[in-house]
């Protein structure tokens, strides 16, 4: 996990490390990012740290206020809701396009992923299911045959990783999630893009509901 990768630019390594800490929640929203301190932690000067922070702010993971430093984006509840809706709409858009455009190889890959997931649900292997889920959605992105859309969808998904990571922990959620994937897949195989989009919207809606319920005790 913590490989050296000395070939990468120092600023890039810092950016990746920080992004990771933010999305995993190690760096809580609202935390101030002290350039000097971070630099010390990575054995680097402030310059590469600044560049990393600039990048993160562009992705929306941190917020910068001139001369007042950067803080980890403390997204409001409303904003999280907004982001979830956007995410659901984008996913729906992707699956609609993908339904019309995926070739047989891509379709079968999607079906295979769904097939494989049955064992994971049965075994209760949430991590494996999570990885499969990621692949499942990514396969759909690529199925749009539109590199730009795929990038954007993936980017948004990354940004939401911080909120999504716990959503599968809810009781029985993996089984329900798999069932929803099943319906989705059926619509895709039938070539009904609009229906697939509807399935995806409700799939994402259910996922967000599960998350909401899980984090209700904050």
């Amino acid at each position: 996990m913590s490989e050296e990768a000395p070939n990468l630019l120092l600023s890039e390594r810092i950016r990746i490390a920080l992004a990771d800490e933010i999305t995993t929640g190690q760096l809580a929203p609202g935390s101030a990012l002290d350039e000097q301190q971070i630099g010390d932690r990575f054995g680097a000067s402030r310059t590469p740290v600044r560049e990393a922070i600039r990048q993160l702010s562009a992705v929306g993971l941190v917020e910068m206020r001139p001369r007042r430093g950067a803080v980890v984006s403390g997204v409001s509840t409303q904003r999280i809701i907004d982001m979830f809706e956007m995410s659901a709409e984008i996913e729906a858009m992707c699956v609609r396009l993908a339904t019309y455009r995926m070739n047989p190889v891509e379709r079968s890959r999607l079906a295979q992923l769904h097939e494989d997931s049955e064992a994971m649900v049965a075994a209760g292997d949430i991590d494996a299911y999570d990885r499969m889920n990621w692949d499942f959605h990514q396969t759909i992105y690529e199925g749009t045959h539109n590199a730009f859309i795929a990038e954007q969808a993936l980017g948004l998904r990354d940004r939401m990783a911080a909120f999504r990571r716990t959503q599968l922990r809810g009781g029985g959620r993996p089984a329900k999630s798999r069932a929803e994937h099943g319906e989705l897949l059926a619509a895709i195989m039938r070539g009904d893009g609009e229906e697939a989009a509807r399935c995806m919207r409700s799939h994402m809606f259910n996922a967000s509901l599960a998350l909401e319920r899980f984090t209700a005790g904050r």
Copy 2:
């Protein structure tokens, strides 16, 4: 146009200026961005220039290759097509949501904009129509009542400004554009979100066709 704005951060001013030059085409795609040279041009050192370039790369206006400098994003034809499709889908998504969520005030503002545009088309005032067009679409973004979606849509529109700016110059395009707005508006007023989305897709498709035709002589 070239106001001082000394209150802004130097790096911000450079970023804005460069973004402007890129989107207006002054800096052609593929141009290399020499940090020293740009710094001299703005009377600044390389540091703020670097920060500006980092920001631009995050927005996608320039591409950075480690130790090889940054060049203005020479987007391939395929990528432009991909971006147009994404743009069309996002706009369609927005108008569908907006149809269900806009309040009477927002609806009437949209109608008013459409009303006003008649005179612009008649007078052949393309710049005024362009501004109205911008407002028209932005009103729809805001009509989604989802700040995140509105931001993203606006951001994408900004990124595409470089390609869009000439599209209205095609013969008779403003009149056709206005007619399409009319149909769109009717669907919105009727409360038919799906139909509004379809109208928007075809509107965007026509706009891209017009652009393609216009730039065919390259």
